[in-house]
Amino acid sequence: MSIHLSILSTSRNWIRRKLFNTWANSVITALIIMALIYFFPKAYMWVVTDAILTIQVDSESWWGYSFVPDSNACIKANGACWDFVAEKFRLIIFGLYPQDQHWRPLVMMITLISLIVYSLDTSRWGFRLGVTWVVAIPMMFFLMQGGVLGLTFVQTDSWGGGPITLILSAVGIVLSFPIAVMLAFGRQSDMLVVKTICIFFIEIIRGVPLITILFMASLMIPLFLPEGININKLLRALIGFTLFSAAYVAEVIRGGLQAVPKGQYEAADSLGLSYWQKTIFIILPQALKLVIPPIMNTFIGLFKDTTLIIIISMYDFLGTVRLGASDPAWRPYYIEGLLFAAIVYFVVCYAMAAYSLHLEAKLDTERR
């Protein structure tokens, strides 16, 4: 009882100190509370109490029920129509991938996500993890594309939804990082040719919108290529995303390099370290540590930019949601679809941000 009271009194203290400490603060707090009281019940009713999600008892289903989406039920409802998400769920997750082969993108996504989660722990970083990635990515590609080991051939044109978003962002992030490091050092190099090429590359890419790059990749390249030669559209987009992200990350890393105190360079030189030893063991670790937040910022941006792939007519996760909402029978319920997509994107972006904070704290050796 006494413990309870003390919690109560500390929380009361906290409320007074943080929320009602000045006259202006009190008014703002009151307004926000009033707004919450006004909006929350309405939102709750729309999302939960008035919402439609038709479920039927189904003994054959593994959880005893099955979804039976019904657009006519939604027309009468006042709340959200989650039947839309249920009806279009497979389309949203797997895009136009042949339905009897859906296990393949599913396995691929689970593998990729597991690999990402496994790679999060800094103590596992090293040569072996690098090799795992290099082996895993082509294997996932072959699983998706098929044509080998008795798997049906599925062209990349039919890929869509979750796999496209995952591949574009994961491969884009993983590949753009080393390129960015090289570009950042190249830009600081004393060798004129290397330096010019790097500056040229970075400034061109940064000076052009991502949409333009994707457009070039999808529209102009086929016109320049001789008849019959066709570079895969997904591959072209992937290269576009990777280079785009690399140019931005390179500039972030250059900022980190400049923030490393000059004494560190001199100390390394005076120890007689070679250029590569100095770079790899002294400068780069310090520089990268400094720029974790802005790098993660760029990667979160890249993750969300993958939705732009729709302009070259490939359906990423958001694209398949929109595709589902183009169906005349379900068209009024695009808000539910977008809300579903927003939740998924938020969860992923928030996880990325949280990991960035964790990494920062873990690698912080000097500043506290």
């Binding site: 086929p222 016109l223 068209r331 009024p332």
Partner: protein, 340 residues
């Protein structure tokens, strides 16, 4: 429905591409590939849209299936490439697709300067206006000074400006890119009028108006532009142009003769009508002229039905009646030259 980008990019494409050299042998390319590559929209209900199982459906898609059936004998041998308005012509010019079956309006510039050939009309559309009943407007001529909801970068936008200028009227455009947001803006009362192709107006009124309020909006009688939609092929391959054109005509002809997917086999074997026998290859000759199997149109009809069946399967869910797209014998303008 075209973008300003389209013309610029397509013009650039002509300068750079060698499309005419590659166009000549489309049919051979399709046969050796064993697959027809068909450019469709990125998702337009009724015309080309994947259903919940990821299978392409719609009027434009059925035309692709009919073509594949006529050329290759199977309506499943089609690869669909979704194309945005900006991409569609370049994709055709560069040979990425064999045929573009993507609710594309036929116009002189597109048929000539873009290096493309329109084949035949599969859907007659036209631009109209929708207004709230409460506005008490009976004709588009009364819309002077109105605010008009419109999607940017479309021929509709240009037609709108032309129409108001021709009638010495003024208007304020409310330009919104996303169709859903545009619809929401109109039904929230941000504009006096809404303009797009008549097919789009009807389906918007049916599907996007607030619940039970469809009847509060009327579509004005004026049609201010002609939008004949149909498949497009590259310049320089007359044989393939002929095939696409006559498969469409054949489907229309089949409806006129009452040949459907369920009775086509019976008609082919037992009909006494020489027109039907010619069309269905019972009396050979037509297939050979096209460079196809004599069962060309039989295969197409078996796969997707005649033009009327294609229409009934795809368009009524949008809330549209056939109107101009009825056969000429039923008061429409859908007409096929004789198959002989």
């Amino acid at each position: 429905m075209k973008s300003k980008w389209t013309t610029a990019i397509a013009a650039a494409a002509i300068v750079f591409s060698s499309y005419s050299a590659s166009a000549a042998k489309t049919v051979e390319a399709i046969k050796s590939r064993g697959e027809l590559i068909c450019g469709v929209s990125t998702g337009l209900g009724g015309f080309s849209l994947p259903d919940s199982r990821g299978k392409w459906t719609g009027l434009d898609v059925d035309i692709c299936k009919a073509l594949a059936a006529a050329i290759l004998g199977s309506s499943y041998k089609v690869k669909y490439i979704p194309l945005s308005t900006q991409q569609r012509f370049t994709a055709l010019q560069s040979g990425e697709v064999d045929v573009l079956s993507r609710n594309t309006s036929w116009s002189l510039t597109r048929d000539t300067a873009l290096g493309l050939n329109f084949t035949a009309v599969t859907y007659y559309d036209g631009q109209g206006f929708m207004v709230p009943k409460a506005l008490e407007v009976k004709s588009a001529k009364e819309l002077d000074g109105a605010t008009v909801c419109i999607q940017p970068g479309t021929t509709s936008e240009l037609n709108l400006a032309d129409y108001f200028r021709a009638n010495s009227m003024t208007f304020t455009p409310v330009v919104i890119e996303s169709l859903q947001e545009l619809n929401a803006a109109f039904f929230a009362g941000r504009c006096d009028a809404y303009t797009t192709d008549a097919s789009g107006l009807a389906s918007t009124r049916l599907n996007d108006a607030p619940k039970g309020k469809s009847d509060d909006y009327i579509i004005l009688p004026e049609i201010i532009s002609k939008e004949p939609l149909g498949p497009v092929v590259r310049h320089g391959d007359d044989q393939f142009l002929d095939i696409v054109k006559w498969v469409i005509f054949g489907l229309v002809e089949a409806e006129e003769f009452g040949i459907t997917s369920s009775n086509v086999r019976e008609m082919a074997s037992s009909s006494k009508n020489p027109n039907i026998k010619r069309l269905l290859g019972t009396n050979p000759g037509m297939g050979r002229n096209l460079g196809l199997d004599e069962a060309w149109i039989v295969n197409a009809i078996l796969a997707v039905g005649n033009y009327g069946e294609i229409w009934e399967r795809n368009i009524p869910p949008l809330g549209l009646s056939r109107g101009l797209n009825k056969l000429w014998s039923n008061g429409g303008i859908m007409y096929s030259p004789p198959v002989r």
